[in-house]
Amino acid sequence: MDAFSLLMSGFETALSWDNLLFCLIGVSVGMLVGILPGLGPSAGTALLIPMTFGMDPISAIVMLAGIFYGSMYGGTITTVLVNVPGEAASVITSMDGYPMAKQGRAGVALGLSAIGSFIGGVVAIIGVTLVAPQLVQFALSFGPPEFFALIVFGMTMVVGLAGKSIIRGMIAVLIGLILAVFGMAPSSGVVRFSFGITHLIDGFNFVTIAMGLFGLSEILLGLEQQLKKPEKPPVVKGLLPNRKEWRPSGMSIGRGTFLGFFMGLIPGTSSVVPALLSYSLEKRIAKDPSRFGKGAVEGVAGPETANNAFTGGALIPLFLLGIPSSATMAVLLGAFILHGLQPGPTLFVRHPDFVWAVIASMFIGNLLLLFMNLPMAKIWAKVASVPFKLLFPIIIAISIVGTYSISNSLWDVGGLLFFGLLGYLFKKAEIPVAPIALMFILGVMMEESLLQTLTLYKGDFWLIFTRPIAGTLLGLSFIAITISIIAGIKNKKDNLEDAEV
């Protein structure tokens, strides 16, 4: 069957009443997650994984994916209206979205974001439909050395983009990989580092780690900032830009779509990166860059589109290689594994019904979100004013029940607390936590592929460079890390010079 017929059969599955309902639940919860402070898309998705345990894998992933892209839409609403970004990628939107709201143009900012997000999301999914089947054969030729090199490449991207310094990024990456070695070793079956604790025989649970690092730690940090009364949202009216703004907005949406989609293909990037790149691109090519930061429509349309197109593009490395592009994708990957689906090139061959139903549900979900955003913007704006002091106890209660239900054990609730505190302490030291979750999920695959490569080459690791794809990827990783180190040193030098001045 060709891609089009498979997509049509995917639509048939996605349009069944139950899947449609789960898609609606997913995007609505995603909107709430995006709007409400204290929960990001990663935590929101992780929080609902336990609820999907009894569900059919297609319905479960349709719902969880809905939360992911729904939160991208939702994050914009609080950003524009009250300057409180519900998720990280929306920070860029706040630079021009909030000034627009201050000028009484909140409706236009929200309308543009919804339209941009819809176009970005849908075009990216069309891209996935066209590109993914062509890449399956290529991905099927990947052996252990290629997978190992690809994970290393993703790792270097994570480290390079991790934040304040490479050292901090490396610490997060290594801790994520180390957490994955607890429990049974992949090839030999030897139980490692259980310290006589029965619960550690199976290692740490991904959902516990994700809920602790992204959920509980965010609440602990949020409590320090958000106990103050929320700002009253402005009135939302007139959702469309004026005639003069149509052309620049359209062009920004077009550029944001392609940028976001292609950034999604690179493992290790997060949705913040395409949003930021799109903003700088728009500013750079604008005739009057001084408008940016004061309510420029391109500053909202471009990043918002890139942000959602990234979500679609990121499905390709996830579906084809089992490599998540971001922390939320890692949570989705965790859900795949929990539901007995192993992402990778064989997923397209063995479970085409699943892959195409999820892709089709994303078309539907994006359409639902467009309808939920444009006419209902005022209602969502009211939701944004729910006080954090009421929200956080509810989120904690859900987190406790959610983690308990993973294996009906209070050990996991203890794990939630441990990883929540770990995330809090790390964030205080500006060590990013997203790479921990991302590398934890890739840890087992990385060990397996490394050991298989070493066995294949009888212990001579350097022979990996005789494989063109693996060698190129490792070479690129080396270049990426070298550039990051040089940039880091240069930044420090600049900072010192600034300080001296």
């Binding site: 336990p50 609820m51 345990f53 009894g54 310094s165 050292i167 901090r168 490396m170 610490i171 290594l174 801790i175 990989l177 180390i178 070695v181 070793a185 090839s187 030999s188 030897v190 490692r192 580092f193 509980l216 609440i219 602990l220 409590l223 320090e224 106990l227 002091k389 009421l390 956080f392 106890p393 509810i394 904690i396 209660a397 859900i398 406790i400 029940v401 308990y404 239900s405 009906n408 209070l410 609730v413 203890g414 939630l416 607390l417 505190l421 790390f426 205080k428 030291a429 500006e430 060590i431 060990e447 490394l450 050991l451 070493l454 066995t455 009888k458 212990g459 900072n495 010192l496 300080a499």
Partner: protein, 163 residues
């Protein structure tokens, strides 16, 4: 003179949060490195179960040392007082931690509903009136109980009466 210098340096170290965190990471990686040597590193048929953790923890030892050095540099110092909250906010953070610990200890005896309501009450009472707190706690706990236990069939901690 030397004593003053040493005391000054010690005070600088004591207050530096980054250094302490780096030391904890270093100790963790050393323990894992030593632990991984208990497993076979390389056998007759190829790499053993100890090789990969030994490699990772070995690299983490180096990186955590670099991190400690980085934190000792003047511009990178993070003091405990500059990053951790005090007073009311610290009390609220401690309440969150305490509520989860209390849940872990009492849930097997009193069941989910009672322990769930206690957790919510601990978190809501400082901000809301007692009747609002009780109402919200009970409602949220019951909704979660019905969703997880009744609808999804996931058994939650139960007391002798089964709830």
């Amino acid at each position: 003179m030397l004593l003053t210098k040493v005391t000054e340096m010690w005070c600088y170290l004591l207050k530096n949060y980054g250094v302490w965190l780096g030391i904890c990471i270093l100790l963790f990686s050393i323990i894992l490195f030593i632990g991984s040597l208990d497993y076979q590193l390389y056998g007759q048929y190829g790499p053993g179960p100890g090789l990969y953790p030994a490699l990772l923890s070995g690299v983490l030892i180096l990186i955590s040392m670099l991190y400690i050095i980085d934190c000792l540099r003047k511009g990178n110092k993070i003091t405990f007082s500059s990053v951790f909250p005090k007073g009311k906010v610290l009390a609220r953070l401690s309440t969150i931690v305490a509520s989860i610990i209390i849940f872990i200890f009492i849930a097997p005896f009193v069941g989910y509903i009672v322990s769930g309501v206690i957790v919510m009450l601990m978190l809501l009472l400082p901000d809301f009136k007692w009747y609002t707190s009780i109402g919200v706690s009970f409602t949220v706990t019951m909704i979660l109980f019905v969703v997880f236990d009744t609808i999804l069939g996931i058994p939650l901690p139960a007391n002798i009466w089964g709830w």
